[in-house]
């Protein structure tokens, strides 16, 4: 992996001290700042409810639909403030999000689902067809199920649809929310390989929220750890992976050994960095 130093490149996407409130009263992000460099793969880590998905949705402007509001701070993409842009405008500029929890179009077939991903593209049918083939190559399982209605596919298949659909947009930045969720182990690896390939070959930038910390840190070059709506730690992925706390709480290694899930009972609850 290209060990690019984050600060040497220009920031493609930067989030400055944003605050997000749901339903007028529920404050979830309390000042989150982060930067994604062009061509980088940035991981967003943190426990459940830390605000990872919220951060991603704030960037792609999908919060409105959930009655969430960015009340403070700013978000810029290529130096331009994008908070007032509509989601489709953002997709046109190359920022696309794969939402957590699949969100397939149930009544459309698998193939139609993938094609909707190319909705904003204007480079002609044949290019789209090529990319469709590429997606099928990544996920052969989808090819088998191409004419089924997406609502009837299995959980993992839906996850593949969601990721494949985003790839169809040929984006510059992909915001991936828990891409590995519900996927079989070898597919998890494949997904990350795809991330790596797109990043290296096509220069696609990634911001991914992921629970599988090990994988995420292995494939990314920078990481942020979110807790309770705040960034509590950030740094080079390799550095984070070496951090004792991260090791203990996110990677599950104490000393050199992996802990067994069977012995968790004896394990003491961890401290929070900040609460």
């Amino acid at each position: 992996m290209s060990a690019v130093i984050q600060s040497e490149r220009e920031a493609l996407l930067s989030v400055n001290n944003i605050e997000v409130i749901y339903d007028h009263v529920i404050l979830v992000l309390r000042g989150v700042s982060l930067e994604v460099m062009k061509g980088g793969v940035v991981a967003l880590l943190g426990a459940n409810g830390a605000g990872k998905s919220t951060t991603l949705k704030a960037i792609s402007n999908l919060l409105g639909a959930e009655r969430g509001d960015v009340t403070k701070g700013s978000i810029t993409f290529q130096g331009e403030d994008v908070q007032s842009l509509s989601p489709n405008e953002l997709v046109r500029r190359g920022v696309i999000q794969v939402m957590e929890g699949r969100h397939c179009f149930e009544h459309l077939t698998v193939e139609e689902n993938l094609l909707t991903g190319a909705y904003t593209r204007t480079d002609g049918r044949s290019r789209v067809a090529e990319d469709l083939d590429l997606v099928y190559q990544y996920f052969p399982r989808l090819k088998e199920r191409r004419t089924s209605q997406a609502g009837y596919t299995s959980g993992g298949e839906q996850q593949m649809i969601a990721v494949g659909r985003a790839l169809m947009a040929r984006p510059a930045v992909i915001l991936l929310d828990e891409p590995s969720m519900g996927l079989a182990p070898q597919l998890v690896e494949e997904i990350f390989e795809i991330v790596k390939r797109l990043n290296e070959d096509e220069g696609v930038t990634f911001l991914l929220a992921e629970q599988n910390t090990m994988m995420a840190l292995r494939y990314s070059n920078y990481g942020y750890i979110l807790e309770n709506g705040r960034v509590v730690m950030d740094g080079e992925a390799s550095a984070l992976a070496e951090n004792e706390d991260v090791k203990e709480f996110y990677l599950g290694v104490s000393g050199d050994d992996r802990r067994s899930f069977r012995n968790v009972k004896a394990y003491r609850r961890r401290k929070r960095w900040l609460s």
């Binding site: 409130i21 339903d23 007028h24 009263v25 404050l27």
Partner: protein
């Protein structure tokens, strides 16, 4: 500052499950009830009773009934008008058959009759869902009204097919017809509605209510964890229809006094009640009251303001009123799709945080 639950600890589950666990809420509601029962009757006049408070209460009750079905159990129904008609006609016939029996009992029985009819028309809900069910309940709407309009027995063969309430005494006090005093009508209605509201609240916070909500939120999952869809849906239809039936009986007996089925219980009536619960808040008891207040009072308020206040011609005011009502409905849906009840709740949550913004 004043609205805090700090310092109010619950020492038993039963107190935690009280209807208003927060003391300020409790005081507020008791206050309202006191005013409603002991204050209003002294000041009420015919206009307030016949044009405002009684329709408000009756519609709130119908809204409560529909909310049980639609808001709590998720079954959209457009047959409310017809079910109200069942209650009205049942009470009309019952009063004719048993003039000696206490009116309250007859109203209760009318509710039961409606519940039975509701269950029958609820049967398709086992297979049909969402808007399909909504439109299917229109079958009930049109069929029942047709029946009441067509079969002479229901309207005692009056030449026009209208039914008119007889003068009825409730423990010696006249509660129907033009001779009943506004206070008597109002208190009679209010008592029934207050009682039924309490029972509704009890039902929805218990097992049955939870199984309704489970069916509403995700019927398949509900079935898989052991809730019988048949039982849950039909019981919702039954309870809901009971409420709507009682509302219908009051609507006919106490509020209007004489009705023509095609007009009083037509599909618009069904929509009207549906507006009430959507504007008020689906799945909220308070919502039925807020919604009824909105839908019943707002047009009157607008009319009086325009005609009385600004001297707009009444015809023009009529058009503007429709327009404004529509616009306000949209406005409130945009501001808070979950209805006035949610708005109220958010306001309370803000108050709880006050003076801090979050």
């Amino acid at each position: 500052m004043f609205y805090r639950e700090n310092g109010q600890f619950k020492s038993s589950y039963s107190s935690d499950q009280a209807i208003f666990p927060i003391a300020q809420d409790r005081a507020f509601v008791i206050g309202i009830l006191l005013v409603a029962f002991c204050g209003v009757p002294f000041f009420i006049n015919e206009y307030w009773a016949n044009a405002i408070l009684i329709p408000l209460l009756v519609y709130a009750l119908a809204g409560l009934g529909l909310n049980i079905l639609t808001g709590y159990c998720g079954q959209v129904s457009l047959g409310t008008g017809a079910f109200m008609a069942v209650g009205a006609y049942a009470s009309f016939k019952l009063v004719g058959f048993f003039p000696e029996v206490n009116y309250l009992i007859l109203i209760f029985v009318s509710g039961l009759v409606t519940a039975a009819v509701g269950v029958v028309f609820g049967l398709p809900s086992l297979r049909i869902k969402g808007f399909y069910l909504a439109v299917a309940t229109l079958a009930a709407q049109f069929f029942l009204i047709w029946l009441f309009n067509k079969v002479g027995w229901f309207y005692d063969h009056s030449p026009t097919g209208m039914i008119t309430v007889r003068p009825i005494d409730f423990f010696g006090v006249r509660v129907t017809g033009p001779e009943a005093t506004p206070a008597a009508k109002y208190l009679f209605t209010l008592t029934i509605i207050a009682t039924l509201t309490l029972t509704a609240k009890n039902i929805v916070r218990g097992r049955v209510g939870r199984s309704w909500m489970a069916i509403r939120d995700m019927d398949i999952a509900a079935e898989l964890i052991g809730i019988k869809p048949l039982q849950a849906k039909l019981s919702a239809f039954a309870v809901s229809s009971f409420y709507i039936g009682v509302a219908g009986a009051l609507y006919f007996g106490v509020y209007l006094g004489s009705v023509e089925p095609l007009e009083a219980f037509d599909i618009n009536q069904s929509f009207y009640v549906l507006f009430i619960i959507i504007i008020g808040g689906l799945g909220s008891i308070l919502g039925a009251f807020l919604g009824a207040a909105f839908i019943v009072l707002l047009p009157i308020l607008m009319k009086n303001l325009m005609v009385g206040g600004f001297g707009v011609a009444s015809g023009t005011a009529g058009h503007v009123e429709i327009l404004l009502l529509g616009a306000l409905i949209i406005f409130f849906l945009i501001v808070e799709p979950h209805g006035l009840a949610r708005l109220w709740q958010i306001a309370k949550e803000k108050l709880r945080l006050w003076p801090f913004p979050h």
